[in-house]
Amino acid sequence: MTIHRHFEDLIFSGTSISSAEKKYLIEHLKACPECETLFNSWQAVCKQIQSVQVVKPSPNFVEKWNKDLDNRKLLARTMQARKMLLISSTGTVLALLITFGLTMVLASPAGLINGVINSINNLVVVINLLHMFSAAIINVIPPIIPFYYTLVFSSTFCLLTVLWIYSIWRISLQGVRTK
């Protein structure tokens, strides 16, 4: 068995063997039909593998690629957007669940109701304050800052907001190559 193994190593190693090893192998093959069959079979496979023809694709292969490219891009973009949406919604739901779970664990039902009412109350107060603050600003600013500067400031603010939204959109498309 070990002897066979040695000769099998010589037959299937894929590297060139020395002339002494070759002579040794030939002598063994003459005496061992099992190894001889394997050797001849491997020689036949090798010969056939080397003579196999290269198969060409259909003539419209490139045409098909060009035709499908736009669809593939659109599909990839849609998938990417869906992935982003799924990740963000899963993250939001998880954050809400964790917050809710922690609140349930840490607070009693009465304390929880009280906390919710307080939060709503605080929110209303903050909204009122913001409303009063913006009203005061609108009343005070025009005499101090000319209309032209207010317009520039508002436009810059709007532009930055648009840029911010655009950046988020670009990040959501990362990984999708587009022209």
Partner: protein
């Protein structure tokens, strides 16, 4: 063309679809041939080749220009075909081993042509009996002249693992060839 021209690569990275089409024209035959040898079916091979180019198109920025482009591209094709074969419930072998346009001219020696076609079908069948990864190794090694190192890099294996697996696959191929001779011999004897 085994490596990619720097200008062409730059154009492709900049999103020039026409430049990518040039690349596709150069590499369509080796990629398709690999897919065909892996899958044994013309239609599947064509879809797999298209998918390979799409993956290359998407991942062109990840390509390392110091590495051979054909090695990178064929690795993508091999991986995709391995995945496809793993998802197949049953091993399949199509008699579509010599597609139209590749059948040797029956003249002047029709008998020899038929014999050659039969032998090629036999090779394809024997290869289709190998495991997907083994199939890729043999195809890359014998038809694409990949070195053991390149195969190792492509299939995430060490060089010694590639060597020992190639040794095992060669023996397996020899055994499968013997078995297939019985299947193919009645036809060949009759011709």
């Amino acid at each position: 063309m085994t490596n990619l021209d720097a200008d062409l690569l730059k154009q492709i990275k900049q999103g020039d679809d026409l430049a990518f089409t040039t690349l596709l024209e150069h590499f369509q035959t080796p990629v398709f041939n690999l897919c065909f040898r892996m899958l044994g079916n013309r239609q599947e091979a064509e879809d797999a080749a298209q998918e390979t180019f799409w993956r290359a198109y998407q991942g062109i920025n990840k390509y390392d220009p110091n590495r051979s482009f054909s090695t990178w591209l064929l690795s993508i094709a091999a991986h995709f075909c391995i995945d496809l074969l793993r998802h197949r419930s049953l091993p399949s072998f199509s008699m579509d081993v010599l597609p139209e346009g590749n059948i040797p001219d029956p003249l002047p020696n029709p008998e020899k042509s038929v014999m050659d076609a039969m032998k090629q079908a036999q090779v394809q069948q024997v290869i289709s009996l190998l495991k997907p990864e083994d199939r890729a190794m043999i195809i890359l090694f014998y038809w694409y002249d990949f070195s053991e190192k390149e195969i190792g890099k492509s299939l995430s294996l060490s060089v010694s693992a590639v060597k020992s697996r190639l040794h095992r696959i060669r023996k397996q191929l020899a055994t499968l060839w013997l078995l297939s001779e019985k299947q193919f011999s009645p036809v060949t004897e009759g011709t």
